[in-house]
Each structure stands twice: as structure tokens, then as C-alpha cells.
Amino acid sequence: MSSPHASPRSGAPSVRRLLPPGLLFALPFLVLFALFMVWPLVQGLWMSLTDTSLSAHTPGFVGLDNFTEAFQDAEMWRALGHTVWFTVLSTVPLVVVALGMALLVHTGLPGQWVWRLAFFAPYLLPVGVVSLLWIWLYQPDLGLLNHLLDIVGIGPVGWLSDESVAMWAVALTTLWWTVGFNFLLYLAALQALPDHLYEAAAIDGAGAWRRLRSITLPQLSRITVVVTVLQVLASLKVFDQIYLLTKGGPNGSTRPVVEYVYDVGFTGYRLGYASAISYVFFALVLLASAAQYAALRRREK
């Protein structure tokens, strides 16, 4: 690297060596990084080995007891299961619908900004607004969805109160809320596709369907992998909309693992145990990242 740095002529040499300009530039970030990323990570790990609580008693070291308890805790496994189930249920439509929207909008039909506004605007709504809105739409007696179903003769659905429906309802809300983000990523990728591929196809006389199948979709496979990876990681972290729509109910049937951490720590006051579950969840996220990285590497070869 040819980058010139600390010229020896200015400043006292010892200060310069201790705090070279590069380090000075990185320092504000490094301080925040140490305080609010490294320290909490270490402290969280330490707390997971103690019985720290929000009540006044002094925490004691308990070794791996919290983890032993966690692995035998049926509620934790159930919550992890809900998180994974939500991830599957949300990721598939969030990728497929986003791709469909982007392909349709990219065809150059009139009214570009209307489509972009319609699909992306929900993403700009704070989750508090999204949940109030969907609680209203899902309202069993007065909500729009049941009114519409009534017209086609389908009985009232307990969107958020029926255990077999609630997670689907949460996934549907999530699709509506966040698909615009993936849609924009796809749209950007489509706009970056090189013209020459299509020119060759035009010379060969390939039809629209043929061009879509043999050029556009294969060209989009890379971005599809990226969007899927981002989506899986985002979905695994779900908390906000589930907490606000169902509080994890009915009967805990939608409670994701992040909400379990919140409940154990802030409702149950058991910060030590909550930290242990946090780390179990972290392991799940790392596992998912590693799996995706491996898949990505294999694809690249």
C-alpha cells in the first residue's frame, strides 16, 4: 500500500507513535464499538454464567447452569421453533413476490412512480403504525378482511386469535410491510443487466417468455441468493411486529425466541438466564450465516 502517512516533521514523535493519525480517525468509532458492542458481548456472556437478576440481590456465578436449563426448557425450544417457522413462512413470499413485482415494474409500463410508491411505501411505516393498522384490518367483527371474506361467503376468521392462523397472519403483515425493500434490490439488479445479452437474443428471434427464462432469471440468480440471505437473517431476528400484533399469543403460539428473551429478562427479571438464551439464539444466527456462506461458496465454484 502506497498511502503516505504520519510525516515525521510534525508533532512530538512519541505522541505520533502512540496515536498515529489513522488511529485518531478510527478512534471515535472504536470507542463506541468497544463500549456498545464489545463490552455488551462480553458482559452478556459473563451474565449468562451468573444468576444476575433485575432485583437487588448480588449475582453469583452459576457456571453452565443457565445453559443446561435452557437446553431442557421446552418453552425455549418452542420459541426457537416459532422463529424458524416464521423465517420459512416469510422468506419464501418475500423473495418470490418481490421478484414478481420487480419484473412487472421493470417492463417499463407507464406509471413507474405509482408502482414504486405502492410497493415501497409500507416499508417506511414505523412498526407501531403497521401493527395498529393490521390489528384493525384483522379485527374479527369490524375488520376489512373479514368483511371482504363475508362477501364471498367465508365465515369470520380469527386472524390473530386462532392458533392455526396467527403465524400466517403475522407473516402476511410482514410481507406487506417489508416486500418493498427486496423489490427495490431486485429492481436495481434488473436495471443493471447488460443490454448485449438481449441484443443477441433478439437476433436469434427469442420470444418474451424465452428471454425471461433463459436470460433474465439466470442473470438474477446471484441477487436472488443475496436477497434470500439478507431476508433469512432479518426474519430470524423477528420480534417487533409479532410482539405488537399478538404479544406472542394466542397461548404463546407465535412467540419468537427474541420475545422469549425479552419476557424472561424484563418480565421475569432473570437477566442471567435471558443472556444465556440470547447466546443460544446468537448460535442459531451464526449457524444460518455459516450455512449460507457455504452454499454461496459452492455456487461460486
Binding site: 498511502s3 458492542m37 458481548l41 421493470h106 405502492a118
Partner: protein, 311 residues
């Protein structure tokens, strides 16, 4: 709009030669030939599908707006659920606005999101510069740590953050809400990669003139980076404006709540007043939707560049 538009275009000029642009595009509609062809047969059904899809996406918002303009009585009338019997009214809006907490939460959200954005962008840009343009002991290790930290979900940090804020006596302060949100390893990574992509010749001239690191960073690189900085800033701002979990955990005083937290904390003793609830939802949604209408292009670009970790 134009004031942010202009620098976006002019300052991206130096990057053009590097891209080895192909011949100028044949106009804005170039996409349509590729995906659908010119035939009416394909375009009409596509337009129909698109219109239905857009309608489905808009209906929830339109329904909320309609409810907000109904009287409480009409909003909970199952027999006239579509159009209100007693006409439209602004009562819901005025009731919500006069209660006074909504404007306060908006202000809180704005102050917190603005503070998070300014600190994050400045601190991340400086770190990005350090990792891209300077040499110091530990640089590689620190950058590797930063990249690794991208994998850490903030959700696992809420418990230690909360413990930390208790220790620092910061619970229920703006600082508690703001500080943890300013650590954005992804943005450092994106900005480092961005600085890497800027040609060094531009700084050489300044360096010959005797400019130090700060001058080069502030007066040469940052002005050249305006599109990228805008993209990062928009992304960070939207994230902070909509952030829920940490503001929810770190504040219990209603006077400090942000919009997403406050708006869901309102409970009425007499059942849910749907018209009022939707009025507050509409008011809460308004700021970012209006901003989007004005800065659509920049926001779209911001998501496309930062959303993918800097392309």
C-alpha cells in the same frame, strides 16, 4: 429537492471514466423490450396484474385513512362498514392531536433519529477513511473485528445494554436510546469500500499543497462522496426512525418515547377507539411518506446501494 439533486449528479462525475460506460442507453423504456417485448398481448395483462397488485398493497393504507375520517360510532358499525352513515369528520384527528403526546413522540423520534444519523455517518466515515487511507498498528485486526461484528444481531445485546445503562445511570434518557444505535459496523464497511474505490490522484494534489489527513478527508473525499453519504444517511435515518425494540426497552417515561413505541402504548379504558387509533397511525405515518414523495429517487438509490452492503 433540486438542492440535493444537483450535488448528486455533479459529484458522481469523477467516477464516470472508471466505469467505461457503454453507448448511451436508448431511452427510459429500454427495459420493456427485454422482458416483455412490444406486443400488446403481453403488456395489457402485465399492466392488469400490476394494477391489481398495487391496489392490494394500497388498500390497507386507504382503509386506515378512511377509518381515520369516520366518527367513532361509524367506525364500529358493522352494517355500514364501507362508507360512514354520518359522513366524514376530522374529530379523530383533532382528539388525537389535542391529547398532545403524538407531536411529542414525533419530536423525540426526529431528534433521536437525527442524532443517530449525524453521529453514525460522521464516525463511520472517519473510520472508513482510517481503514482505507491510513496505516497504523492493528488496522487489519480492527477492521476484521468490525466486519465480523456485522454478524451480531442487536437483539442479543438488549439485555447487556440495559444492564449497562443501569450501571451508567442512563436509563430513561435520550443518551441511552441514541448511543447503542450509533455503532454501525456495516456502514464502516460500506464507506471503507467506497473510499477504496475513489482514485487517489485527487488527494495527491492536495497533499502536495501540504494538506493533512483532516483536510483531505473533509475537503477532498467527503465532497466527492456526497451520493454515498446521502445513501448511508437515509438508510440510517429510516432505521433509527422505525427502530422499536431498543427504544421500547430503554424508555418507560412517556415523555421520552419515540413514535413507534409511544403510539402502541396508548390504551383506552373504554375499549379501542378505532377512528382515533387510525388517525394517530395516519399522522405517525405521514412524515416519512411525505419525505419519500419528495426524495423518491434518492431513497430508492439508497436502499439499492446500502441494502446490499455497498454493491
Amino acid at each position: 429537492m433540486t438542492s440535493t439533486d444537483l450535488p448528486l449528479r455533479t459529484s458522481s462525475a469523477p467516477r464516470v471514466p472508471r466505469a467505461a460506460r457503454p453507448a448511451p442507453a436508448r431511452g427510459r423504456l429500454r427495459g420493456n423490450h427485454h422482458v416483455l417485448g412490444d406486443s400488446r398481448l403481453a403488456r395489457v395483462p402485465a399492466l392488469a396484474v400490476l394494477a391489481v397488485l398495487a391496489l392490494v398493497w394500497l388498500v390497507p393504507m386507504l382503509w386506515a385513512v378512511l377509518t381515520a375520517f369516520k366518527s367513532e360510532q361509524d367506525a364500529s358499525d358493522p352494517d355500514h362498514w364501507l362508507w360512514p352513515r354520518h359522513g366524514l369528520t376530522l374529530k379523530g384527528f383533532s382528539t388525537v392531536w389535542e391529547r398532545g403526546d403524538l407531536p411529542l413522540w414525533m419530536l423525540n423520534s426526529f431528534l433521536i433519529a437525527a442524532a443517530v444519523t449525524v453521529v453514525t455517518v460522521l464516525v463511520s466515515a472517519m473510520a472508513g477513511y482510517a481503514f482505507s487511507r491510513t496505516l497504523f498498528a492493528g488496522r487489519r485486526v480492527l477492521f476484521a473485528l468490525t466486519v465480523a461484528a456485522v454478524l451480531v444481531p442487536p437483539q442479543i445485546l438488549i439485555v447487556p445494554w440495559f444492564r449497562q445503562m443501569l450501571t451508567l445511570h442512563l436509563v430513561d434518557t435520550y443518551a441511552a436510546v441514541i448511543l447503542p444505535q450509533t455503532v454501525a459496523p456495516v456502514m464502516v464497511f460500506i464507506l471503507k469500500k467506497h473510499f477504496d474505490s475513489l482514485p487517489r490522484e485527487l488527494e495527491e494534489a492536495a497533499r502536495i499543497d501540504g494538506a493533512g489527513h483532516w483536510r483531505i478527508f473533509w475537503s477532498v473525499l467527503l465532497p466527492l462522496s456526497r451520493p454515498m453519504l446521502a445513501a448511508v444517511a437515509i438508510f440510517v435515518f429510516i432505521g433509527a426512525w422505525n427502530n422499536f425494540l431498543w427504544p421500547f426497552v430503554s424508555t418507560s417515561d412517556p415523555a421520552l418515547m419515540t413514535l413507534p413505541v409511544g403510539i402502541t402504548s396508548v390504551k383506552d379504558a373504554y375499549g379501542i377507539p378505532y377512528a382515533q387509533t387510525m388517525a394517530s397511525a395516519v399522522l405517525a405515518a405521514l412524515p416519512l411518506v411525505v419525505v419519500f414523495l419528495f426524495f423518491q429517487r434518492q431513497i430508492v438509490k439508497s436502499v439499492a446501494t446500502t441494502g446490499l452492503g455497498g454493491q
